[in-house]
Symmetry: C2
């Protein structure tokens, strides 16, 4: 594989997913850090060179820049044991990866960032007005996960896959956004199973300053 | 392939994408319609049988129910000319599919539904408060597409793919949510190129009642 560089904000769950998958697969990735709050992903240089979308993660593969965590995960894990070979199981893996980006990241993920990094009391009015809706939608998404995990160890046909990596990114730190995972015991137990995977690395987000 | 049934709301761009990909690949799909506003995707039967997530599209493959349009697109198009075989190009296709679900569907797609189906004047306060932010975010997403299409015919390496199908779903009807595509001429021209694909079918959304 060509040299890989992850343009990232370390505390982002989307960035962590890629570090986690790389660790599980023993793939080496160079990290390049940006502070989103300081606007480091929106400088003219970043926008012209790394991503016109002004966000991280972006996986750099040689001279190619690949935004979107879901795309990066599929790139680095292609052909590995984290990706089902069966057509339907592969589609089911993608199902949970799209679900995660649509229903977990913008809810559980946003509230964690707003709570831990920005401070709920510092939010502008537009964001403040979204807190309740995000909390409800995040809870509903966790309900869907809870129900699916009833009697299952992992999300796709009992086999650990990128679906678990993607969902784990924000879910396992949802308490940092004031979601109490004891309300979703299947989800909580599944988080522990993910942590038992050989090669697992923690998010390592102690420093939020 | 097993029998395919698309559980759908006909005017939804997410549902249309799947019909479009199936038409382009000459794959037969049975349609089963639900009226979202009447809550037909949230009945106990739907939630227990079709999808606990309470939304469409859901692609039924034999006895398996697969939610998420991006997953369904990958399932039906696997191995076809709509899916690049190259590892990096495949990841780039997914990049645009994730981008679309995160930045086009919740903005351009939502505003179209709110404008055409619900009526902006009928929105509750929470939704009304999101209209401006969605319009800004949708415009920014169209800017990213416009820039990427500068000098390109399609989104991934000059070859029509699922990325184009996914992005086309809501983008080509963005004027129904009061986005004026003449501001994004590359996007507008790309829409015309998609319509020229052999097997193309229109969304057919004349009836919004």
């Amino acid at each position: 594989m060509e040299d890989l560089t992850l343009h990232q904000y370390h505390n982002s769950g989307n960035c962590y997913k890629i570090r986690l998958a790389a660790a599980l697969l023993n793939i080496e990735i160079t990290l390049e850090d940006y502070d989103l709050v300081k606007g480091e992903s929106r400088t003219p240089e970043f926008l012209s060179k790394v991503s016109s979308n002004g966000s991280v993660p972006v996986l750099q593969i040689g001279n190619t820049f690949l935004p979107e965590s879901g795309a990066a995960l599929n790139y680095i894990a292609a052909g590995s044991h984290l990706v089902p070979k069966d057509r339907l199981q592969y589609a089911e893996m993608l199902r949970w990866m799209f679900f995660e980006q649509y229903q977990i990241e913008p809810t559980v993920g946003s509230l964690r960032f707003w709570t831990r990094k920005l401070g709920l009391e510092n939010l502008d009015e537009a964001k403040k007005g979204q807190v309740n809706a995000k909390r409800q939608a995040g809870s509903a998404a966790l309900d869907v996960m809870e129900q699916h995990l009833s009697g299952r160890r992992f999300f796709v046909r009992e086999k650990f896959s990128l679906a678990d990596v993607a969902l784990f990114g924000y879910t396992h730190v949802s308490e940092q956004g004031d979601f109490d995972l004891s309300k979703w015991p299947n989800v909580k137990a599944w988080c522990e199973r993910v942590k038992e995977q050989p090669g697992y690395v923690p998010i390592g987000n102690e420093n939020w300053s």
